[in-house]
Structure formats: structure tokens, C-alpha cells
Symmetry: C2
Subunit: 367 residues, 2 copies
Amino acid sequence: MDKEHRKPKATTIRDVAHAANVSPAAVSRYLSNQLQLPVPTKSRIDAAIEALNYVPNAMARRLSLNSSETIGFITSDIVNSFFALIASAAEEAASRAGYSLTILNSRNDIDRELQFLSRIDDRQFDGVLLLTNHVDDGRLRTKINANRRVVLLDEDVPGAVAPRLFAENQTGADLATAHLIEHGHKRIAYVGGPRGLLSGEERLKGFRQAHAKALLDVDERLVFSGPYDERVAYDSFRQLWAGGEPPTAIFSGGDLLALGIMQAARDMHLRIPRDFSLVSFDDIPHAALFDPPLTTVRQSTQDFGQRGVGLLLDLINHEVHAPDTLRIPVSLMVRGSVAAPPRSHRTVHDGGAGKAQHIGAQKVEGV
Amino acid sequence: MDKEHRKPKATTIRDVAHAANVSPAAVSRYLSNQLQLPVPTKSRIDAAIEALNYVPNAMARRLSLNSSETIGFITSDIVNSFFALIASAAEEAASRAGYSLTILNSRNDIDRELQFLSRIDDRQFDGVLLLTNHVDDGRLRTKINANRRVVLLDEDVPGAVAPRLFAENQTGADLATAHLIEHGHKRIAYVGGPRGLLSGEERLKGFRQAHAKALLDVDERLVFSGPYDERVAYDSFRQLWAGGEPPTAIFSGGDLLALGIMQAARDMHLRIPRDFSLVSFDDIPHAALFDPPLTTVRQSTQDFGQRGVGLLLDLINHEVHAPDTLRIPVSLMVRGSVAAPPRSHRTVHDGGAGKAQHIGAQKVEGV
DNA sequence: CTGAAAGCGCTTACAG
DNA sequence: CTGAAAGCGCTTACAG
């Protein structure tokens, strides 16, 4: 259009000040509510802003304030709706506090995680919410301790100096396993996350704890730990069924793993819960619509996102709390994937064999 | 720790220049590969950077370059894994081009969309990928035309001057409906997106087109258009079954709607595909694991994200293309939610009544 | 080719 | 209380 001005310079605070016959400082202070002005002056400024279509330049403000007004959210997989829900809750909380939230998809790759954490160093982020999903080799710890503007969510980085927010993993696993035991299962397999990773360790601990409370032994040949990967769970299941005596129930350390198990069962023409029962962890959306509706341990993604942002903003503003690890409560969502063991004559409490209790799942609160 | 310096000033390009005995300009040019330096000078600079632990300040660079190096991704619901997959692909493409991607969750609220679009004005974003999911009242159009750094993905904003990237909606709907007709269905319901919204209109058109090609009439009492809301689909289903003669099959305009339909069917103790068949649109992850495995139209989320970013970067760099609307191809993923109509003696082509073809779903390419 | 200097558009300590 | 001026830390047109 206008060939005359090659770059139609953006209107700045100077332009507004000039038009309103005040100083740039006055406009700046007025806009940030640090100055009570006489009404006529106010209106002149407002009119100038309106007329010149003035919008403050965020990059200039950020350079000046030495704050990017942005926080990073690093997750292993944004497509996993459990993580997406946390991200969504975090974005809302951040937005309310005047911060943008940038979601970074690490694909569980430590090099990408480190690269993303470096964006704190170049001032792209004021801080970062880190949801890692693998065992640290020490590099994450070092990186975090170098800048100290990180909050650990969902999984731990041992040795890192950072606020932490985790689920009640052990309690949840105990709850889930006890639920199976109550239905008469004695031969229960564990298909869970990696050894050395917080959720994997703690959920396995809960699994053992429930057995101990029921005076039951854990058959170590039925314990499978591995990455949170659908295919790995798929393979674990096939191994379980390849051996002599398969279990009558499985506690799976994550809904993604449960999905792999369900797929494998389907491929082997096994029905859940007729041929075996299944309880899982996470409660991803639509878990109630799977075949069968999945009984699983729920953790509040809202809590994760909201409280995580709170912790990070406190850290950024140097309002440091006691460095305790905070925990998100859990509850068991009872749906249709658990029944009595096959070929068992033991009395069951509910009539839940074939029929799913899908709507308004019965909720068993965690401790 | 150090009480002496209240603010331990970050090291700047000046510090590096000083330590390496060159000018800041030389360092800047060296770092951006605009300058070939003698090896000894290079090493001195590298050593200084290393020793001082120098990281360029991104906010300063951005102010100077008048570019935020960031693009926005506005979606109605990041928890919907279909959108999350597009976001993920877009993030990868943006990252490869040196851009950050910020995901914004609009919750399909136009005020939030407008607010997010304003971040172009204050220089937070160099441009925006907009995935809206409702009919515009004119405000989106006005806003987009005011800054012209927006690419429209998945849904249209009529009248907006912007590059567009949409799915082959009509072809996909035709494919899906024809699939039902081939299985002997004549009484097919449509439960789809809103009238006036691109996907809703075009998919309905494809639904009608398939009928016309088969010389079948569409029963208008079986056509339900509404927002992409699980509960709305739930209610539509109940209405369909409340009337006299329910359909023998449903084409649903989105997997989220299909989920609502499946939930309603389950609550009414109806089995799919025994009691009615269902085909849908989107192919969200794990669609194969639902009960039944969902036959649905697939669109490549990878294409959406990648090509969308490409279009936006071209726009930002003023490498404008012809303003054509680009289309993403579709294909039908045949799984287990379609069978012959109930009480029908018509011969069916595949044996697909009860048994699901879940693994490696048969793929029928779109035109 | 190289460096001193101006400029990006804000904010705020400082002086009047 | 108010404004002139310095400063945030880069990039780059300009002069030498």
C-alpha cells in the first residue's frame, strides 16, 4: 500500500506522550497504575492511545524488567491427555497471574529437556515446570541446580534442589491392588514404570504393601518394570501369558500401559474382566469408554497444574517455602475391568462380573 | 549467599568483548556467522564465552530484531488429542525453523481467541495458527484482517484474508457414508458439527452426496447439527432412539461426538455394531481401543501442523503464496463399528459383524 | 574489514 | 509530584 514509508514505524510510548502533552514516564506510570492523574490528563492520554492505536511492546518491557513473563512447561508427551490436562490447568493458572505458558514436547529425550531448560539461561523463561519421564543420568540434576528456577512435577530428579509436587503413588497402588485382592485375586501381576523412576518405585512399593497387608506373597516372575510405553506393556502381557500359569489380575502402573495390555488381550482373544482383571493408574479422559471401562486410580490434573504454577511463581519471586515434597491425593475410580478370578468359586462382594458400572464411577478415596 | 552484590549482573556481550579484546559488534557478528575471524581471535572469544558463562539475552535480541521468534497456536481444546497431535507437529516444525511455539487454550471462547490474537499486536507473537471451532460473529474476521499474520487451520473464518489449510471434509464424509451404504444401510442418521461451521457444512454435504450417488433419500429427521460437544451428541442419540423408527447407522462428524454416542448407547444397553453401525471423523489416538474399535476418517495431523507452520512462516517473511485454500487428504480407517443392519438378510461383503478388524486397520484412501 | 555509536521501546532511580 | 536521562543488552547502518 504505502510505498512512501518502507517501515511504518510502530507507535511508541513517546508518540502517545507527545500527543497527550505529557512525558513518556507519565504514560508508563499511568499504564501501570503507579500514578494518580487529574481526570483531564487521563482522558488526553486515553484519547491519544485510542487515536494512535498504541499497544505497548512486550519485548521492550521484558528487556527492561528483566522478565520474560513466560514460563515453560516441559512434558514427555503433550498428546497424552493426562499431561495435556495438567498443561491446560497450568496455562490457566499462569494466565491469571499474567504469565504466558509455553508447552515443550520433550519426547522423553534428555537432550531436548536440557535444551529446553537452557531457555531459562537466555531469559526466554522465568522458570520451568518439568515433567520428566525417565531416570536422570545426572545431567538434569546438574542443569537444574545451575539455575534453580525449576519445579519438579509428577516425577523426581534425585539430588535436584527444587520444589516437588508428586502424586500419592504408593497409596494409589495400594488401593488398586487391595481392590483386586478383595475380589479374590491372589495371583496378581505388576506391569509398571521403570525401576529407578519415582512413580515406578513407589507404585511397586504400594503393590507389595497391599500384598503384605493381605498376607499374600508377590510372585516375582509376575513383576514387569519398564518404560511407560504401550508396546512394552503389550510385550509384557504376551510374556505373562506365554509362561505356564498366567495371573488372574494385573495392576498396571499407568493407563497407557493398560491400553497396551488391552490391545494384547484383544489380539489374543482374551476378555476383560472375564479372563483376567485389570486396574490401572492416571484416569485419562474417556477411560470409561474403553472396552472394558477401565478401573483406575485418579489423580487431580487440576491440582498438578495449579499448584505447580503456584510453587514456580513463589520460586521466581523468591517467596521460597519449606522445601518439602508436596503430594496430590488419589482415589480409585471403580468401573468395569475387575471381577472375580476365572474358575473361582469364591464369593464376590459386588455383582461386577460382566456388567460395567460405567456412569458415575464409584469413587474410593485415597488416604 | 553473596550479600555483597545485591544483583549479580548477568554477563553481557560487552563483557565477552572486553575479555577477548574485540568489540561487541565483532562478537555479535561472530555469533551470528556474519564474520570470518582469524583462528586466534575466534578462540579468544570462545574462551571468554566459556569462562564467563555467557548466554545471549533473548529479550534484548528480540527487541533489537523486532521479532519475538515465537508463534502462537490457538486451539479450542488442547486436551483433545486430535488437536494436541497437530500442536505437537507444529511445535516440531517451528522448532526446526528457530521458532518457539506457545499453545493457547481458547476453550472455544471468542473473547479468549481475540485476546490471544492481540498478542500479535504487542509483539509477543510473530504470527498465529488459529484453530477455531465455532461460527464467527465477525469479530475474528475483523481482528485477523487488522494484523494479517494468521493462518487458518481446520476451520474457516469467512471473510478473513489469510492462508487456509483444511481437511477434505466432503470427500471424507462421502467415503464414510458410502461405507455404511455398502453394508446395506439405508436409514442413516447424521450427528455432526454446527451449521455455518466449515467442517459441519462440508461433512453434511458429503453425507448427502453419498446418498445421492446411491439414489437414496436423506431423512431430514435424522439430521442433527450442533456444537462438537460429547453431551450434545449424547442427547441427539437419545432423541434419535426416542422417536418411532431409529436409524440402522450413524455417521458422526467427529470422534468426540462418536464418544458421546457410544456412551449413550451403552447407557441404553445397545451394542455397536449389532444394534446400529457407527462411522466417524478424525481418528483420534486409541480409537482402535474403544468398544467397539471405531471406524473413522483419518486426517493427517502431521500434515496439518507441519504445513500450517510453513504457511505461517512464509506469511511472516512476506513470501506470500497464492491465497488458495490448501487441503489435507483423508482416508477411511475400517475397524469394528460397522456391520450389516440389524434384522437384515442382505448379504454383506466382509464378515465384519461382531468381530473387529482392529490391528492394522484396513485403509481406504480418499480421492 | 572493524569499531564507535545509535537505535530498538520500554522502566525507573534520580534530581529538580 | 513530575520529567530528563540513563539503562536493559542486543544488532547494524555508518564512518573510518
